[in-house]
């Protein structure tokens, strides 16, 4: 029998790794979107949620380290799959077309490497803009001092490049999830004659919900005029 590390390096092991990290990242973006939507809560809701996270101390570091490992492993395996595929067919077809039917060939499935790399680059910019971005301090109702991330978010998305750039990336996230959700289940061996079609449909709906949920915020802030927007309460 292969050692555990050899097993992880096998084709099957790589798919299991992609699936496990993919599910972890799916759970993460659900929490991320839920937090983002606090921006439509009362004036302090978003900053309070962000402050609560930042006050978690060592637990936050563990979560962040876990997330970083999940992102990096997911990206590493994805890129290695793309690399192997180039090695596995040195001479391509003059003509190639999908046969349809049970096939899941689509723009989403064929572009995982493209959407994935865009998301990876986006992640670096995103962390730089928000996690390490300069903010003013606000006093929360409880009397604590917190970073005014809500203010930073509103300022950022009132600039067209940021608002539309984020929107475009979130559409790509939707495509990545459109294939990724179903694929993660299949990679983790959950393929069922009856339920797989349902899992695929749920995956597509989930992908659309996530993309729309995330891109609604920058577009709403941009077109609504930030603090002028009906659903956003500023101090």
């Amino acid at each position: 029998m292969p050692s555990f590390s050899d097993a992880l390096k096998s084709q099957v092991g790589r798919k299991i790794l992609t699936g496990v990290t993919g599910v972890g990242l799916i759970v993460f973006i659900i929490f991320h979107l839920a937090t983002n939507l606090q921006v439509f809560g009362d004036a302090h809701a978003f900053n309070e949620a962000a402050h609560a996270l930042e006050s978690m101390g060592w637990l936050l570091y563990i979560l962040e380290a876990g997330l970083a490992v999940a992102f990096l492993l997911h990206a590493y395996v994805g890129i290695s799959i793309w690399w192997n595929r180039r090695q596995a067919r040195p001479e391509g077809y003059e003509k190639y077309q999908s046969k349809g039917g049970p096939s899941h060939m689509s723009w989403a499935s064929k572009s995982m490497i493209f959407t994935g790399i865009v998301l990876l680059v986006f992640l670096v910019i995103h962390i730089d803009t928000f996690k390490f971005g300069a903010t003013e301090m606000v006093t929360l109702p409880g009397g604590e001092q917190a970073r005014d991330l809500k203010g930073l978010m509103i300022d950022t998305f009132q600039q067209p490049l940021w608002a539309f750039g984020y929107t475009a990336v979130m559409i790509l996230l939707g495509f990545h999830l459109g294939h990724g959700f179903w694929s993660a289940f299949t990679s983790l061996t959950m393929k069922h004659n009856k339920y797989s079609a349902l899992i695929y449909t749920v995956g597509v709906i989930f992908a659309v919900l996530m993309a729309v949920g995330f891109l609604f915020i920058p577009l709403y802030i941009y077109f609504g005029g930030g603090c002028e927007a009906a659903l956003i309460q500023c101090q």
Binding site: M1, P2, F4, A7, S10, Q11, V12, G13, R14, K15, I16, I81, N84, R85, Q87, A88, R89, P90, E91, G92, Y93, E94, K95, Y96, Q97, S98, K99, G100, G101, P102, S103, H104, M105, S109, K110, M112, H179, W182, S183, T186, S187, L188, T189, M190, K191, H192, N193, S196
Partner: protein, 255 residues
């Protein structure tokens, strides 16, 4: 006599494994709708031989009944052509129309090197099968029928996977050139039957390792393999292979 029609063919010609190849144009005007695709190529080859200017086109076949897995052409970008659950040899010219341009290429993968024209070497599949080893059955006198009870649905499912003829269309159609459907089908066939159970873990690990070694790509769950499979084998076989592989490696036992 049935009406004949004309097709324009673009066929991959390659003199040898290390020679560069290219698509060569042919026009064939004696095509009859009852011809199989391979018979159409036979007629073209007769013309080429009669003309005597070049060598006939090499392509693989054996039974021409859709059961041996020898024929292997990518026709207009689809392994085995446009018809579902059909081998190249069982594809008939009635699926094409007068004036059609048909591109014919070999199955392409590093693990399936071109020998000549449309013929590729698929012995990588044989080595995956060999890696699977043996099945513990008594090989002396014939065993009693039904001495090992097997549930009907288990036997039927095993048989569905056993219909894999190892043609390689799954590899040819996969954007990653993965052999997961072939390997998965062989494993799903043997692993679910009591006769194959004793070596289940060993077999799964050995065949997955051999598949890696042959230089096939990873599976990305495109399911294009299922769409082109002439036997319609489900990618559930791939999920089952993964399940058995995880069980085998986590258990860590030798059997």
């Amino acid at each position: 006599m049935a009406d004949t029609f004309t097709v324009h063919l673009k066929i991959w010609r390659q003199d040898g494994p290390d020679q560069p190849g290219k698509l060569v144009d042919y026009t064939l005007d004696k095509v009859n709708e009852h011809m199989s695709f391979l018979e159409m190529l036979d007629v073209l080859n007769e013309e080429i031989v009669a003309e005597g200017k070049e060598e006939p086109i090499e392509f693989d076949y054996d039974c021409r009944e859709g059961i041996c897995g020898s024929c292997n052409l990518v026709i207009n970008g689809q392994a085995h052509g446009p018809k579902d659950m059909t081998c190249t040899c069982q594809l008939h010219m009635r699926n094409f129309s007068d004036g059609d341009t048909i591109v014919i290429e070999p199955f392409r993968a590093k693990a399936f090197p071109v020998i000549k024209d449309l013929v590729v070497d698929r012995s990588a599949f044989d080595r995956i099968i060999e890696a699977g080893g043996y099945v513990s059955v008594k090989t002396g006198s014939a065993p009693d029928a039904n001495s090992i009870p097997i549930d009907k649905t288990v036997a039927d499912t095993a048989f569905d996977y056993a219909t894999c003829i190892g043609c390689g269309a799954c590899v040819a159609a996969c954007p990653n050139s993965s052999a997961s459907l072939f390997t998965g089908a062989k494993l799903a066939h043997l692993n679910r039957l009591p006769q194959g159970e004793p070596e289940r873990k060993k077999r799964t690990v050995a065949m997955v390792e051999q598949m890696d070694e042959e230089g096939f790509g990873d599976c990305s769950n495109y399911a294009e393999c299922e769409a082109v499979c002439p036997k319609g084998i489900s990618i559930s076989a791939i999920a089952e292979m993964r399940r058995n592989y995880v069980k085998a490696t986590l258990a860590g036992t030798e059997a």
